[in-house]
């Protein structure tokens, strides 16, 4: 081995991360002191190319009529126009577009379904200032815009692929429960900081439609006559979260929901793995003669005992399913304790007051 090749080998061995760590198209969250330390693998991998296409599609929609004055979140000073077909027009804002976090859209009359689109930063209201503010929040990793235990965190992710190098800012919801911060969920890309252009995800339009029901992981149903009070079902759900194998730190977050966090700990469900998890249970009486328990789970895992952002990632499909099964089983016993002579008629329905079998 000659001298130049020896030197090259030394350099290669001394800096292996630059060669081995990042496969093409890898996302990694920026290190942040108090941030939720995760890879945002589940979020949409949006690039400035996608943003440009989205913007062009919005501009291409045919305009109907003339611009009129309109408001956003009770603030006047915006211009709106009708776009789309003559039979089903939608109201679109004109630049500067309102800029608001998708999880914190101010309530409007009726049931407006917000429509966001990527727009150049200079076409959004206070765009440059907001992006700078979001970058600062991502660096500090602090929760903000809290509503009860639910806060927003901004996470910056770098996207590297060949010649493309962009930073995407995402806003996520996170629960703070009894001093623990849970797993970020409902993450949405809100800004793309490209080499040439910066794009922001702005509120551009709305439709008057009923909101879509939330997506949950699974639900359980409690059939009983008369129905037990929601508070006792909530207590049973909290008990399910706090007892093994979940062992979460849980509390009631609304009058009909309870949530639990497990923060950077050894998983008792997935042996050998560390977990960052939030499980939320919402109780509703939407079904006739029964109570529904809808379960939402957000889970991140790490094989090592580290708190570096890039080490935390989503579970594999099998791990996720194993965890959901554990959550499902955890809820069954506490719910069953609410009634006598109960019977699970299928995997999700508990019928109470079933006559005891004859001996």
């Amino acid at each position: 081995m000659g001298r130049p090749s020896t030197i090259a080998l030394v350099i290669l061995l001394a800096f292996p991360n630059s060669v081995f760590s990042y496969p093409p198209g890898h996302y990694s969250a920026l290190r942040a002191p108090d941030l939720s330390k995760v890879n945002i693998e589940f979020s949409e991998r949006v690039t400035s190319g996608d943003a440009a296409r989205d913007y062009a599609e919005m501009l291409a929609k045919p305009q109907i009529g003339q611009p009129t004055a309109c408001s956003f979140g009770g603030s006047p000073g915006y211009q709106c126009v009708q776009k789309g077909s003559a039979f089903f027009p939608n109201t679109y804002f004109l630049p500067p577009f309102p800029l608001v976090l998708p999880q914190r859209v101010p309530p409007e009359r009726g049931f407006p379904k917000p429509k966001f689109s990527w727009v150049p930063v200079h076409e959004a209201q206070g765009g440059l200032q907001k992006v700078a503010e979001w970058q600062d929040l991502a660096r500090r990793g602090k929760g903000f815009a809290c509503g009860g235990p639910e806060c927003i965190v901004i996470i910056a992710t770098h996207f590297k692929r060949e010649t493309l190098s962009e930073t995407v800012l995402e806003s996520c919801l996170v629960y703070n429960i009894v001093g623990t911060r849970g797993a970020p969920w409902d993450c949405r890309a809100i800004a793309i900081l490209g080499v040439e252009h910066t794009w922001v995800y702005a509120y551009v339009s709305y439709e008057d439609v009923h909101p879509a029901p939330p997506v949950f992981d699974f639900d359980l149903r409690l059939v009983e006559d008369p129905l037990p009070p929601i508070s006792s079902v909530l207590t049973a759900a909290q008990n399910a979260l706090e007892t093994p194998p979940l062992n979460l730190i849980a509390e009631k977050i609304t009058s009909s929901a309870v949530a639990g966090n497990g923060q950077y700990r050894v998983s008792s469900v997935l042996p050998g793995w560390h977990e960052l998890v939030t499980v939320r249970a919402d109780i509703d009486d939407e079904c006739d003669g029964c109570l529904g328990v809808k379960i939402f789970t957000t889970l991140y895992v790490n094989r090592q005992n580290t708190d570096r952002p890039e080490d935390w990632h989503l579970p594999s499909e099998r791990q996720g399913q194993t965890y959901l099964n554990a959550v499902r089983h955890s809820f069954k016993q506490p719910l069953q304790s609410l009634c006598t002579n109960s019977k699970w008629t299928d995997d999700r329905t508990l019928v109470c007051g079933v006559p005891a079998p004859h001996r």
């Binding site: 081995m1 800096f15 094989r303 090592q304 580290t306």
Partner: protein, 153 residues
Amino acid sequence: MDTDNARSWVINASLLITAANFVFFFVAPAVGFPLTFDQAARLLEIVIPVFLGYLGSATHFLFRPYRPRAHRAPVHSSKLLGILVRGPVVVFGIATLAAIFAFGFSNRKSAPPGVGMGIDDLAGALAASLGLLAVTTSVAVSYLFSRESMEHG
């Protein structure tokens, strides 16, 4: 240590370290050591090529058509040669074991949250250990298994 002994020692050490690495990095993820198979494979890719390179040089040396003369030059023997051939490999072994122990210990179940050694840190430690080999043993190997060495030793 003379050059023949040095050659034998390098070959034996390379075979042993290669075997130990294969066994450890294949078995560790399966028996609960805090590594995934992907990570173990990545570490193996960092360590193994160096020792495979030594074994390749030795094999090439042994089977090249050029044969040593019947009348051999006096065996080149030196205390320094022994230190320089054995020392770095021993240091590499100690450093590797220390890094693997630190990784396993800091990532054990009962460790306080967040204090574990990361996979990149372990890769860095292994790479640094290999760096020592690159500037010592690799240079020695290039002479031990060269044509000139064959002529004189």
